[in-house]
């Protein structure tokens, strides 16, 4: 009995999915929404399938993956060392905290015009705005992770003869790792949002954002829904990827 319940437990998340599909199908049957605006789940699935196996959607998907990955890579490369450095001194972090918080609160979309002037109409602008937004999120988390590093551990390293720099690389970097991964997960979600928006409006010829908007303008509703679902799956996938890396890499957290 319990075994069955446990096995069924893995399936619990599917209930919501099935429920959604049923409601959707019913809405289509009863034409709750204009059929032109709401294709059936089956039509949408076929659009996803065709698009992803040799269709346009696969290429758009790859372009979005590429832009988001690049932006998160740039963001991490800058924000992790910088956050560690800033966080290692509470006084230093306090002095830049307002600036970080201010730009963290500024909608990244408001920065597009500025970045357009600097980087021109191309991939660079999209990647850089996304990297900028993500880097602040990562920076903030890394700095807090470092500031909350276990004091005993820092003292232990110091008492063994570690220099300030060694304490930073040997202890603080690791101590902040769990918080860093929170930053990375939030950062990649934000980067994806920014990249998709940029693909819609900033001189794009490809990407999932472009695909959503283009299908909508051509009134290819199944294609539009397909692009939305793939974008959702991508966001979910990125999050899952970082969770898996975190589990393997930050094996000590929670002990």
């Amino acid at each position: 009995m319990n075994a069955i319940r446990r096995r069924l437990g893995h399936l619990t998340p599917l209930i919501g999915v099935i429920g959604l599909l049923i409601v959707w199908q019913i809405a289509v049957w009863f034409e709750v929404v204009d059929p032109v605006l709401l294709p059936s789940p089956a039509d949408t699935f076929i659009a996803v399938w065709n698009g992803m196996t040799g269709g346009r959607l696969w290429i758009d998907f790859l372009r979005t993956v590429e832009r988001t990955s690049l932006s998160i890579a740039y963001a991490a490369a800058i924000a992790i060392p910088l956050g560690t450095l800033l966080g290692s001194s509470t006084a230093v972090y306090r002095s830049v905290e307002f600036v970080v918080d201010f730009f963290r609160s500024t909608p990244a979309s408001a920065l597009f015009p500025l970045f357009l002037v600097i980087f021109g109409v191309g991939d660079n602008t999209k990647i850089m705005v996304a990297a900028f937004g993500a880097s602040l999120v990562i920076l903030f988390n890394v700095a807090y992770g470092v500031m909350n590093a276990r004091k005993t551990r820092l003292l232990a390293a110091k008492v063994m003869g570690a220099s300030k720099m060694r304490v930073l690389t040997d202890v603080m970097l690791f101590e902040s790792m769990p918080q860093t991964f929170i930053g990375l997960r939030n950062g990649v979600s934000l980067a994806l949002v920014i990249v998709i928006v940029a693909e819609m409006f900033i001189g794009s010829v490809d990407g999932l954002g472009y695909s959503v908007l283009d299908s909508q303008m051509l009134f290819e509703m199944p294609d539009m829904y397909a692009a939305i679902f793939v974008a959702g799956a991508l966001g979910y996938g990125f999050n899952l990827l970082f969770l898996v890396i975190e589990k393997r890499f930050v094996h000590w957290s929670g002990h």
Binding site: L155, A156, G161
Partner: protein
């Protein structure tokens, strides 16, 4: 045997009694503290405090809560700055001295991202040793102590006592002249504590390292000590400096030995007078 007071040479509040010092083969002071002052805000913890710790002896520090035991060894070990005063190790400064420090909280003192063996090896990075030499040193230490822990495990996969043992090994691998321990067993259960006391005693007998050991358990402090340093409160003074002459290795029988019981009764008496705050 009666309780002997081997007053340290320059204890501020006591007349120097050099002749009463134990006739150990190497009894010249290893650590000298002169004119130490330390305050936290309005709390004066030390005021012109002097202390000598002889080389190669096991010194237990005991005293009322908050009297400044941790502060003392933290200042000597360079974890806390002194307001005033000088601390020398056989005439050398701390930087020129090889020393180890064992924290009470082993969970927060070990590096959980490193395997136990790499935790032990870590301090060797700051010495000019090849990888092979580093490995050799760890192997030698493990063999020396007869440790039977799977060192490829991460610290969090070990029991509390095993973790503290790793922590002690990490401080021993550099072959320190002095080892500081601040209540190292107080987070362990009783069985593990008994085991660890004997492990530490074995380490002391094997290495002859000068030990400065803070404990809040009087019996433990005396059991392990050559000398018990009894501190008074606010600002801290040397209330008494008691030599324990029971032969080593000490065992469970030692605890009921009449000399031991006498020393313990004496220390307890001093302590109670301190706490009653006369």
């Amino acid at each position: 045997m009666t309780v002997e007071k081997a007053a340290t040479a320059a204890a501020a509040n006591m007349a120097p009694l050099p002749s009463a010092a134990p006739a150990a083969p190497d009894a010249r002071p290893h650590i000298t503290v002169r004119g130490l002052s330390k305050r936290f805000g309005a709390t004066v913890v030390y005021d012109k405090f002097d202390l000598d710790i002889p080389r190669g002896r096991f010194v237990s520090v005991f005293g009322p809560n908050g009297c400044g035991k941790s502060t003392l060894i933290n200042i000597i070990a360079g974890l806390l700055p002194a307001d005033e005063g000088e601390i020398l190790f056989d005439g050398k400064t701390l930087r020129q001295t090889n020393f180890g420090y064992v924290f009470q909280n082993y969970r927060e003192a070990l590096f959980p991202w490193l395997r136990s063996i790499d935790n032990i090896r870590y301090p060797l990075k700051f010495f000019n040793l090849s990888k092979a030499e580093q490995r050799n040193r760890v192997d030698r230490l493990v063999e020396h102590l007869g440790v039977k822990i799977d060192l490829n495990r991460y610290p969090y996969q070990l029991s509390g006592g095993q973790q503290q043992l790793i922590s002690i090994m990490r401080s021993l691998v550099i072959e320190p002249e002095v080892l500081f321990l601040d209540e190292p067993f107080s987070a362990l259960d009783y069985e593990m504590t008994l085991f660890m006391r004997d492990q530490l005693q074995a380490v002391f007998l094997e290495t002859g390292t000068t030990m400065v050991f803070v404990s809040h358990d009087l019996e433990e402090a005396i059991y392990l000590a050559d000398d018990v340093l009894l501190l008074s409160r606010g600002p801290a003074r040397i209330a008494d400096y008691v030599t324990v002459r029971n032969p080593r290795p000490r065992t469970a029988e030692t605890l009921s030995d009449s000399d031991f019981v006498q020393v313990k009764a004496h220390c307890l008496d001093v302590f109670q007078r301190l706490v009653r705050g006369s």
